[in-house]
């Protein structure tokens, strides 16, 4: 008999298997929701899918009487703007620092331990400091994300660059490359796929920092909204918002993966 560890599902079977637990969760939720609504038709804890759909549609189509804006899109736009600016700054800094720390042993000796130390500080713990220094506006939220993800990305990318085969570096020098051309033509291109991977991994924490910052001090944003409606136990808004945030996160991840596959085919062995 084939051993359990040697049974591998085919492509179709794998998709089917992956769907089973998700379908089970949805069915379980529907049963629990129906049971609660049978006991109390006004139950707020486990809203039905219909109620969530109506609430979400309301958020996505009708303008708020107070601000005159459609809340879902205003929230999404505000959050993505904060996240986008922060990711661009963090990626830019990582490129610069990762390359220079990875390529130049003198800089690595000088700043490596500093970056390592910075990366263990829990970013949310310094959020109060950011609020004090940068105020309650956009800057502090963006800074939280930047400070939260940059040191980890720099460490990852710098160690990847430093671990590029020494043979390649020597070879390039025998072909006439100096420090600058080594960095530009040998290290930089080989760093890019890793930078994108690193960014994909950092997206999770980035969302955490964004929502934390918005929960504490904001007047618009996805995180602000779910923490606001929490006061009214509006699970019918919170749950669709969480699903929406997850969807955006998945979308970001897929886009980055696609960019990496298209732009750096050599880094993905089987993609030719």
């Amino acid at each position: 008999m084939t051993r359990l560890v040697n049974i591998r599902p085919g492509r179709k079977a794998a998709t089917g298997l992956a769907a089973i637990p998700m379908i089970l969760i949805v069915i379980g939720y529907m049963i629990a929701s129906a049971v609660r609504h049978a006991a109390n038709p006004a139950d707020k804890l486990l809203p039905t899918f219909g109620a969530m759909g109506r609430a979400f549609q309301h958020m996505a189509s009708e303008s708020d009487p107070l601000t005159g804006k459609i809340l879902l899109w205003a929230d999404t736009l505000a959050s993505l703007e904060r996240l986008g600016i922060a990711l661009v700054i963090a990626t830019g800094m990582t490129m610069l620092l990762g390359l220079s720390l990875g390529m130049i042993p003198l800089l690595r000796a000088k700043f490596g331990p500093l970056v390592a130390t910075l990366s263990v500080i829990p970013p949310v713990a310094i959020l109060p400091i950011l609020f004090i220094v940068f105020g309650l506006g956009e800057a502090s939220k963006i800074m939280l994300i930047v400070i939260g993800i940059t040191p980890v990305m720099v460490r990852d990318v710098a160690s990847h660059v430093a671990a590029l085969p020494q043979e390649q570096m020597i070879k390039a020098q025998t072909l006439g490359a100096g420090s600058w051309l080594l960095t530009l033509r040998v290290a930089l291109p080989q760093m890019m796929p890793r930078l994108i991977d690193s960014l994909r991994l950092a997206l999770g924490p980035a969302w955490v920092f964004l929502i934390s910052a918005e929960a504490i001090a904001a007047d618009v944003g996805l995180g602000y909204r779910i923490f606001l409606v929490r006061r009214y136990l509006s699970m019918d808004i919170i749950l669709p918002y969480v699903a929406w945030i997850s969807l955006l996160a998945i979308l970001f991840d897929l886009i980055l993966k696609h960019i990496s596959l298209k732009a750096f085919p050599w880094a993905h062995g089987s993609s030719h």
Partner: protein
């Protein structure tokens, strides 16, 4: 005329002596095979010529001038692995070396310079038998083809010396034979000076015009690291007259 001279070289790491009293001259146009047991300093010796290591004492002369202890374009190198750039295609791997010289800022040439570089690169790639895969990424090539590419990269720079560090060690015997033919042919055609470290005695004698065997002359059983290795045998093989041997 000697192209590379090693004058009373010592290489020490801490209190470990790797090489001691190495005095050798490498003649222009010779094919020097370097053999010896593991840990006898063969690769260290090659790295001295490369400039990757510097001698603790003594000096290395290239064309009678002290060698700067840094790799440079006058010495080509082919390692056993990782000598090619996986993110560039085969043609760009060779063009890169030419671009480094013409475009120190961007490392990329344009226009007529670029056309000349591409032409030269393609000629060299044809010569090493890679004319049919110029668009492929280096990471897609087989081991033997990567070594051909590494040789083409080095040769296009017209190095004074070509250094080979166990270049065929990771290849199948059949492919190794093809590579021997290729290297012998290129050596004759371009009148190269080659230094090759190898584990394979047959290969060393088949290809070389001179075989250097590195080993320790003396061993202190209580402190084996205190005596370094040197060239214990230096054999001149007269094979230049022979027709192109396979």
């Amino acid at each position: 005329m000697s192209i590379l001279s090693f004058r009373n070289i010592w290489v020490e790491y801490g209190d470990k002596v790797v090489l001691e009293r190495v005095n050798l001259d490498i003649e222009q146009g010779s094919f020097v095979s370097i053999i010896g047991p593991s840990g006898a300093g063969k690769s260290t010796f090659l790295r001295l010529a490369l400039g990757q290591d510097r001698p603790t004492r003594g000096e290395v002369l290239l064309d009678d001038k002290p060698l700067r202890p840094e790799p440079g374009p006058d010495r080509g190198i082919v390692f056993q692995r990782y000598s090619v750039f996986p993110h560039l295609n085969v043609r760009e791997n060779v063009v890169f070396g030419l671009d480094c010289a013409t475009s120190p800022l961007l490392g990329r040439s344009f226009g007529a310079t670029r056309r000349r570089a591409v032409e030269k690169a393609e000629e060299m790639l044809e010569a090493v038998g890679l004319g049919h895969v110029m668009q492929a990424y280096a990471s897609e090539l087989s081991g033997g083809m990567q070594q051909r590419l590494a040789i083409a990269q080095a040769l296009v720079k017209n190095p004074r010396v070509l250094l080979l560090d166990e270049p065929f060690g990771a290849l199948d015997p059949g492919i190794r034979g093809d590579m021997h033919e290729l290297v012998t042919g290129l050596w004759r055609q371009h009148r190269l000076t080659i230094m090759m470290v190898t584990h394979d005695l047959k290969e060393a004698f088949k290809l070389g015009t001179r075989v250097l065997s590195f080993d320790k002359r003396r061993i202190d059983p209580h402190a084996p690291h205190r005596y370094g290795a040197t060239a214990v045998y230096d054999m001149q093989l007269d094979r230049k007259e022979r027709p192109a041997a396979a």
